[in-house]
Each structure stands twice: as structure tokens, then as C-alpha cells.
């Protein structure tokens, strides 16, 4: 099937098999390997991207379902060398260790803050419950998002 998706602000047109997931399409066909695949059941959240402004797990969205949509991946967050405030906050607060869950965490954090610019710790934790991190114990991820919220208000 032919699909057209605007990915990180660029229109991409591709002929792909209907069974290909969005995550697989991003990684294998567009070499956007920042979107990671950690499970088969939308359980881990490593593949989180935004689809028309909503955070989705790209392993359980078919690429053809994203036809005509706008997708932002982790590669679309920084402006050149200028990292997004959420990315900066993760660096500042050691919100990552092995880095594998990180793209999904950043994209989810963006979604949390878009819907709620002043989240409480509880709201942040609730917002992150679809994303596994096995390294950090979430402590510094939560702190990073709290810090990002402050920075983005300023």
C-alpha cells in the first residue's frame, strides 16, 4: 500500500506491506532507529511516538493507519544541537542509564506535559505507567519531568 506520513515535519511517501507496524516502518524503512522496540505487547513503551499530537505505542499502530498523519519521533525533538527542554532535563537529572527506554520516556513526558503543564509527582507517575525503565527506578525520570515542567513554564 502507498502511504504518506509527515514525520518530524517532513512528508514521507512509501509503498509498504499492510502488516508492517509503525515502529518497524520507522526503524527499518526510514532508519529512524531512535524509536526502540522492547516488547510485542505494547507493554514497555520504548516505542512511544506522537501521532497527530497523541502519544502512541508505535508497535501496535500499523504504518498504514498513520497514513495522512503527523508523527513525531525522538529524532524530531531536538532542534539541531539544541535539545528540547525535556531532553535537557533528563540529562540534568540523570533520568537515563542504559538509554534504551529513554526515547519512549521523553515522548511520553512530552505528552504528559502537553496535557498537564503543572503535574504533581503522582500525576507524572501515573502518566508514566505505560513505560518500563529497568535501570533508574523512575526516581530521576520523575525528577527530570518535574524540572522540565518548570523550565517549559519559564
Amino acid at each position: 500500500m502507498n502511504i504518506s506520513i509527515t514525520i518530524n515535519g517532513k512528508l514521507v511517501t512509501h509503498d509498504i506491506e499492510p502488516r508492517i507496524s509503525l515502529s518497524h516502518f520507522l526503524r527499518e524503512h526510514l532508519d529512524l532507529t531512535g524509536t526502540h522496540i522492547g516488547c510485542d505487547t505494547s507493554g514497555c513503551g520504548a516505542c512511544t511516538v506522537t501521532l497527530d499530537g497523541q502519544a502512541v505505542k508505535s508497535c501496535t499502530v500499523l504504518a498504514v493507519q498513520a497514513d495522512g498523519s503527523e508523527v513525531t519521533t525522538i529524532e524530531g525533538m531536538a532542534q539541531g544541537d539544541q535539545m528540547h527542554p525535556i531532553q535537557e532535563a533528563f540529562r540534568e537529572h540523570h533520568g537515563l542509564q542504559c538509554g534504551f527506554c529513554t526515547p519512549g520516556m521523553v515522548m511520553t513526558a512530552a505528552d504528559i506535559l502537553k496535557n498537564n503543564p503543572n503535574p504533581t509527582e503522582e500525576e507524572i507517575r501515573h502518566g508514566l505507567e505505560g513505560n518500563f525503565c529497568r535501570c533508574t527506578g523512575y526516581h530521576n525520570i520523575v525528577k527530570s519531568i518535574q524540572h522540565a515542567a518548570e523550565q517549559m513554564k519559564a
Binding site: C44, Q97, F100, E122, R125, G137, V142
Partner: protein, 786 residues
Amino acid sequence: MGTFIGKPIKRREDARFLKGAGRYTDDIKLPKMTQSAFVRSPYAHAKIVRIDTTNARNMAGVVAIYTAEDGCGEYGVPCGWQVNFKNGETMREPKHPLLAKDKIRHLGEAVAIVIAETLEQARDAAEMVEVDYEPLPAVTDPQKAMDSGAPLVHDEWPDNAAFDWCIGNDRAEVEAALASAHHVTEMEYRNQRLAPNAIEPRSYIADYDVNAGKWTLYTSTQNPHLIRLLLCAFVLGIPEHKVRVLSYDVGGGFGSKIYHYTEEALLTWVSKEIGRPVKWTSDRSEAFLTDAHGRDHVVKSKMGFDKDGKIVAHLTDEYCALGAYLSTFAPAVPTYLHGTLFQGVYTTPLIHLNVTAPFTHTVAVDAYRGAGRPEATYLLERIISKAAKEMNMDPAEIRFKNFIPPFDGVNEPGYQTQVALQYDSGNYEAVLKRGLEMLGYEEFRKEQEEARRNGKLLGVGISTYIEGCGIAPSAVVGSLGARAGLYEVGAVRVQPTGKVSVFTGTHSHGQGHETVFAQFVADKLGIDMADVEIEHGDTDQVAFGMGTYGSRSLAVGGSAIIKSVEKVLEKGAKIAAHKLEAAEEDLEYAEGKWTVKGTDKSVSFGDVSLTAYVPHDYPEGLEPGLDFSSFYDPTNFTYPFGTHIAVVEVDSDTGKVHLKRFLACDDVGNVMNPMIVDGQIQGGVVQGVGQALLEEVVYDEVGQMLSGSYMEYAMPRADDVPMIETDRTVTPCPHNPLGVKGAGEAGAIGSTPAVVNAVVDALSHLGVTDIQMPLTPQRVWKAMHA
């Protein structure tokens, strides 16, 4: 503290990870690369009657299909540690074939590999491979595996034991002391099987270069050199100097990426057969079935006390599952990494542990964060808290009563345990005191009483752990059965411009070596951190390396780098003396320059570096260059310790445990980067909380896995845990140059019993004395209503 040492320097690895520009194995694409998929057994134990690949071979895009008949890796995957039976009989060591031949011994064992142009084509064709199995009865429980008449995992032996083992004092002596003890506390439970679940699934690419006759293996491993050695010398019999193993970014390991897996070797073999690169990346279902698991001990234990609450003896018998085949470190985990910690932080005079380690129709068990030490700590910290309750003592008081007194390992000697080890340095009272202060323990007890009066179930649990990191020296571990040394390699290459490349045989998969190692190298050389680059994960760049596990990277790998730094400075001083026309002994080195003492005559590190490579005016007889590689073999393990305290509230209607607070006061020796140490502790704590409350791999009676996805295997999510409150004391390690002990596993070792102790404490007035992990709401509710 130096300019960089001891500071919370932000990590240099973060930018690439945050931008999605990490280089994990599955991110790599090579020209002409093929994809692969495995055909795996749906049974835990079965005869393979027939494999027919005819239809699969005709599928679109298929390049090749291989089964055991094709003769891949005939020697099988070896085990890295030998533990013989108590009677001297050699450990039973089955051949672990790359693809199953004739018989299946665990669910998910690979029967065939399909290579195709695309992943979809490989998976489609794998589904068309026809395999007829004759299912057989299976045994997955380590105790049942030793029952007479239990299904045999390997037919060549009369029972399922791989070995048995014991450590400590004479059993009869321990039994006698228990018989005459004032009080004996008993426990029987299972330290349940866990799946490590690094979020990056295992991934490999093998690339055989036909013209050069060389292989490159990209692999998500914690120990690239070890993989190369095992692969070349044991599995495939290919020349080691023609194999390069690369592990760039690895998305977590937790022990599960130590094991040299069959897929790594098979892909390496396949790549030569097809003359093209081949990739395989596990999916999560395969990961649950084939990644090495952790724990799985069935435990029966007795601890005896005198009337004052002093421990007089400790006797434990365990059945420890090994799985169908022996993983790289499997035999070491329930023995030398476990029994040697049975002293804990207590003066127990008599200890005996007996271990029976059987094969089971399950995937192999291997090291998982803490590897043997969490199992030991769980037992000690639960049983001492249980004893306190039985003897009407406070759990803190009974610990203070039994602590080994403080010793620094310099002025006071190390502490010789009853179970073979000599602790390096420790101050166990100090961490418990601090932990209790952090909580406000006495006020909490009042709050708890008040809460109980109001029908609330509030509890506090204490755990005072010790662990052994950086296991060594090589001669000792060799005498205990290790088939490898446990030293580390660190190389320092000073470039002509004074920029420094450091090569380590350890591997960073989240620990932040690129930052931390640069911190101490820059400080020791008195140069800017930006002038130091850390390289790891490439067997072509450093002589050898044992990799990263057992919290060894800084204590062992860091020490090897320090040795090379010292050699650089020693040679640099000769060059500097020549340039300054002074005697070497008249020079001092500080802030990146050699100065003639008492003068302002100096020469910088950069000048000396350049001179070493442009040796026109140079000391006679001195070799040019500033490039050193060192092997460091420690004289002892290191022994971090700490106190972990959990505060929980149990929902009286549902039995759900709410972890309200978690406090950790750890002592990991000197700290290079407090931000990273705290991060390691916080992450480890939450993994330990996972074992206490949520996680368990469950196999049913026939060896099917009931917990094979994230729908069934519960791991801690952000809303399951609070902020982790950390503090530390510092008792330097007396035997390594940085005085460091290791921080990677401490969190996971200390936290599990603290949480379970807290839940039991919350319910103690209801008569609850123990609950089997994980403490699911159902189990807690049942315990409350028993």
C-alpha cells in the same frame, strides 16, 4: 575529592541516547545483510521425531534453513565454572547444542534457523517448518527434580543433580549447637524465579568477510572478550585473532547478557555458510523463554539464638535450579556467590549451607543483579527479623546485638568469616544508625501504634546487607572452579597532542563508564576531562577484558586503568626530568605539569606527550611513545554494605501493598560520581522491590510458561514506587587504588527483604509470620485471613 572525582558530573553518553542516536545492535544495518528467525519448541521436554523444511525452503526470500543435522557448532556452548560433587565426582556438564538434536529440554529451545532477505520473510518461512514432537513429562521445580522417578533432563545420568555442595562449619557441630540453642527460628520458602528483562532484547549480527577470512560479531553483551574466547576456542573452533566482537550500546544487562548464548555462536557459523551478514533480534516472547533467568532456590533454614538474642548457629539446605543446560556462570551463583555471604554482617560462630543443584526442564539460570547474594541476604534478613519478633525483640536491636564490630582493614585486620571470605572493611552499626535516623524510627513506631488503633496496617522493614563485588583474585577463583581469570585490563594511550584515549575491558550498559572513568583519569593526570575519551566494547582495541558484572567495573577495571596511568606518569617523569635537566626525584607532578620542587621550572603534560612521540631531544635508551596497557588482578573481593528500610501500608480490604517510603543508607567505599551511585542504588532498589511485590516466572506442571509477556510478568512501573531516599557512609576499600567497592547490585540485594519484612511487620498483630514472594494482593489477603 579532586577536580572531577566525587563530583556529580553530567554524563557524556546522554546526548546520543536522548536524541535517539544510540547505536544498539538492532540499529545497525550492514550491506547485503540477511535476517533470521528461529523455530522453537512449544514443549518443555519432547523427542524430535521429524523436521521437514521442504515447504519453508520454497517460501519467498528464503536464503537458507539450518537444523542440527547441518553440523553447526558440534562442541556446544560451554559452562564457565565447575563445581564438583561433595564426594569429588565431577560436575555433570551436558553438551548444549546450538540447535536441538533428537531431544528438547526446555520450552523455546531452538530447532531450526531460517535465513531470509527480510524479517517478515524469515518469520513466515519459520512458521512453515514442520516439526513432529513426541511430548514427554517435564520437571521444572528444583526440589521435585530430585525426587526419585522425576523425569530426567539428561538421560545419561541416573538423576537430575548437576552437583551438590556445602560450605561452612561441620554440619554435626552446627546441628548440635541448634539443638542446645535457647531459641530456634525456622523458615521454608522459595526465592522465586525471575526474568531479568533488560528492556533491550538480545540482538546479534554476524558478518563473515570472505576475502579477509575474518568475522565481526555485533552483540548485545556485557563481556565482549569473553564471548570471543568462548565462541572461538570452545564452540566453533575458529581462530580468535580473526574474530572481532563489538558491543556498542547495550540496553541493560542485569546479568542476563553475560551468558554466551547459542544464537551468538549459530549466527557466526551461519554467516560463513551463506557468505553474508545475518541479524537476529529477540522479541520479548523469545526473551522470556530463552534469556537466562535468575534465583529459583527452594530454601529450608534454621537459625539458633542464645537468651540474649545472639546468633549461635545457622543451618540451611537449598535446592537451586540450574535449568536444562549450564549457563556461563550458573554453577557459581548458588555456591560461591551465595554461600560465601552467609556470614552477613553478623558474628554467627557456626554456619553450614548445603546446596543441591539439579537440572530442570526450564531455561538456564545465570547471574541476575546480585547473583546469589540477594538470595543469601533475603534469607539472613528475613530470618533475623522473624527471630526478633519471636523473641519479642526489636528488629534493630537484634541486629545491633549481632553486628561484627567496625574495622577499617588497615589498622584493624579484615574480618575472617566462617564461610571462606575475609571482609575488607566495614562499619555496619553506622549505616543502621543512620538509616534509623533517616526514618525517625522511634517516632515511626508510635505512628504505627496509632495507625493500628485506627485500623490501618502500617509496617516497617529493616535489612542490613553486605555483598561481595569484584570477585578475585584469579588464583582463588580458579581454585573454586572458575575456568577464567577475574582480572581486568585497562590501557591508556596518550596521543602526541596530550589527548588521552583510555581502553577498558569492562563494558558500560547504563553504568556511565564513559563519564566516570574519564573523571578519575583526568584527575590523576591533572588534565581536563574533555581531553580524555573512554573506549569500550571492541575486542580489537584492548588486549582482553572480563567485562561488566558483579559490580566489578570500577573496583577492578578502574584499578587496571590507574595502573596504566601510573606507568604513563612514571615514564613521563623521565622525559620531564630530561627536558628540565633535573633529577627525577626532584620533580613533583601536579595540575598537569612536572615542576622542579621549590622552583618555577616546569614542563606540561602536553609537552612531555609531544616529546614522547617526537623524541629528538630525548632520554638516552628510553623508548618513544606514551602508551601502556595493564592487567589488574585484585587481592580480594570488595564488600559494600548498607541498611535499607521500607515503610508500607497494606490495604486491609484487598491486601495490596503500598510502598510508602524507601530509605537506603549504603556504603560503597569512595564515590567517584555521587549522581551515578545514587542512580545505581535507586534502580537496584526498585528491581529488588519488583522481586518482593510483583515478579515471578511461573512454569506449569508440563513446563509451559504462564508468565511469558508483560501482561503476566509484572515489573515495577513508575506508580508502584515512591522516591528512593538515599544517604551514605564512606568506608574506603583498603586494597584498591581508588578505595572503591561497587554500587551496581547493592540496591537489588538490600531492598527485597526490607519490603517483605515491612509487610510482615504490618500484619504481625494478625499472626502473620511469613508470606511467599511475590507479595501479590491475593497472597497478602490470604495470609491476613489464614
